[in-house]
Symmetry: C2
Subunit: 356 residues, 2 copies
């Protein structure tokens, strides 16, 4: 009568071992101190024989915890994201949590749906690489004591742990470096800032730097909406006559790729015609020889997960922020040019990318 395809339950184990569900449950929860040796062995055997695995579902229902951690990332294809995921995954696995991974595609509506879904799955905590909206939904989560750790980006009005970096400082450092290398005409090319704090901070830092230093009247910020307008912008920027050498500064690895491809297809050479530096440090930047501002994304992922798990373990301290270091990777795409000098004269004999 018993369906052999059915997964065995605790009741099946109990019957097979000739004991009660209670005793089996004790066995499962490591409260074995009051279990007789013989009983212990019988349960062990029954579990083995039936290939029994307790249902996390049933377990979680009573215990009010799912051992599920949700993570919503903005773009799963971005190597920055991938590195983060690896970090969080490693930590979660170590602590016997499983990761529910969602890809918001930088779309606030999709993000909202995901928050809802994750809540329905009763996640124990959430790691969020946010689009910046959905504040109220997140506050509701918080009120239910589901800890949230923000990754890389802020949500207005949310006082929770955050793992990110000092965008203003990093932008200043990069720009300072570019200026010292002799580039005074700089284009900052970013994905649309929307409500994304990281992007906004970087653009603001860019503007203030330019204003403070009185460099780069020729400088500009460009938001990439589609590839063809990026092409137009870059063409115009590179062919512009300026007093000083020019550089393009991209806001993340995805934009870097787009920009590099655009530059390539326009027939420009890096760094002969245009220097290039970028936030993020995808593994290929080393091969191609592109200077970057690298933040250890893996470490960010690890820190965020550690933080969340600390909260789950009961840490009720004030929300904290963790900043990973940003390091400038100097490579061939930003060689030093004599100050005052214009393009087509660079001191490095190395090229980064070739055009057709």
């Amino acid at each position: 009568m018993k369906d052999s395809r059915r997964r065995p339950t605790i009741a099946d184990v109990a019957k097979a071992a000739g004991v009660s569900k209670t005793t089996v449950s004790r066995f499962l929860s490591d409260q074995a101190e009051y279990i007789a040796e013989e009983t212990y062995r019988k349960i062990e055997q029954a579990i083995q024989g039936l290939n029994y695995e307790p249902s996390q579902m049933a377990r979680g229902l009573k215990a009010k915890q799912s051992r599920l951690i949700g993570i919503i990332v903005a773009d799963i294809a971005n190597p920055f994201t991938t590195a983060i995921l690896r970090g969080t995954e490693d930590v979660c696995h170590k602590h016997h949590y499983s990761l529910l991974v969602c890809n918001s595609d930088n779309d606030p509506t999709k993000e909202q749906n995901y928050i809802r879904t994750l809540r329905s799955h009763h996640i124990d905590g959430l790691i969020l690489h946010t689009t910046g909206y959905n504040q109220s939904m997140l506050l509701a989560l918080q009120k239910e004591k589901t800890p949230v750790v923000l990754l890389d980006r802020e949500v207005n009005g949310m006082h929770v742990d955050l793992v990110g970096m000092d965008n203003t400082q990093a932008t200043y450092d990069a720009l300072d470096y570019l200026v010292r290398q002799g580039y005074h005409s700089i284009a900052y090319v970013t994905a649309p800032t929307a409500d994304i704090s990281t992007r906004i901070e970087r653009v603001q830092a860019f503007h203030s730097f330019i204003a403070e230093r009185h460099v780069g009247e020729e400088s500009a910020v460009f938001q990439v909406v589609d590839d063809s307008s990026l092409l137009d912008f870059l063409q115009a920027f590179v062919s512009r006559k300026t007093a000083t050498a020019k550089a393009v500064f991209t806001g993340n690895a995805v934009i870097l790729l787009k920009a590099a491809l655009a530059i390539q297809s326009l027939g420009y050479r890096i760094p002969d015609d245009i220097a290039l530096i970028s936030f993020d440090d995808p593994d290929w930047a080393q091969i191609v020889g592109i200077s970057t501002i690298s933040q250890s994304a893996y470490e960010m992922g690890v820190t965020a997960a550690d933080r969340l798990i600390a909260r789950l373990a009961g840490d009720a301290g004030e929300p904290r922020r963790f900043y990973v270091a940003a390091t400038l990777q100097e490579r061939a795409s930003t060689p030093k040019v004599a100050t005052g000098q214009s393009m087509r004269t660079h001191s490095s004999n190395r090229q980064a990318i070739h055009s057709e």
Copy 2:
């Protein structure tokens, strides 16, 4: 008395709306046909007011389905994997499934733990980029009617759907191309094959091709165990005196990166000193100008998820295999060289990578 921090339950909704749990449940399950308009409205309001979201946990317990799909990938940092994830995620989201993502790190033991964990979470189905072991555990899953779809790699003795590519054909095509381009001394550099079907098939195809065509007595297969031995191998291979031009053929994007970095650090030039081609097509291959055998990983992810969901929807047909097309991306790293000619003479005026 009621704890305001507690998540509302169906009972709370029922009380607030002045109806029974049953009626609320009907509302939730879209069996609204027999619900009076006024009742409907009251329930709607109660749900709104309480910000109620049904617990998937409780739901799944009775319904015996979790709306969770497990996916175990071998290396989450590999861009091939990332593209797959994007595909599966898109499909799963569309069908209201959530993805439990696990990273086995190509470690059979970790994979085994993950299978266990996923089973405990009562996943409705599994997408598996396998290490090749763990057959028995997977068969057990199958017996419990949890559908499994294999990605890219086989598990011995498992008759389930598989989404992959024709590795033998693809290897032949690539080698045939290299030979036509004038490279008769070819090194196939792969990650350790272990029990991974894809890798084994490719190596076998390499051997048979070499044997059949009577080319490349100078050819070799090298398994990358650590970076320094790769360096040694490449140095020896490139400096070897051979009658024909030489090429390195890497087995995936991760090895490609390692090889490119090694070649670069050895001071060799691509393709002047050594041609380069690879399985996988990471986005940067285009920028650097590396020829590849590209398989649409995104499409693989989509197909695998579609397949799994079809199974979940009741498709009980024979296991099928789906092969995505492999296309050869011809780029600057494998220029044509005159047959019989040796190195340092290549017809392209374009270089792929520069050494210091």
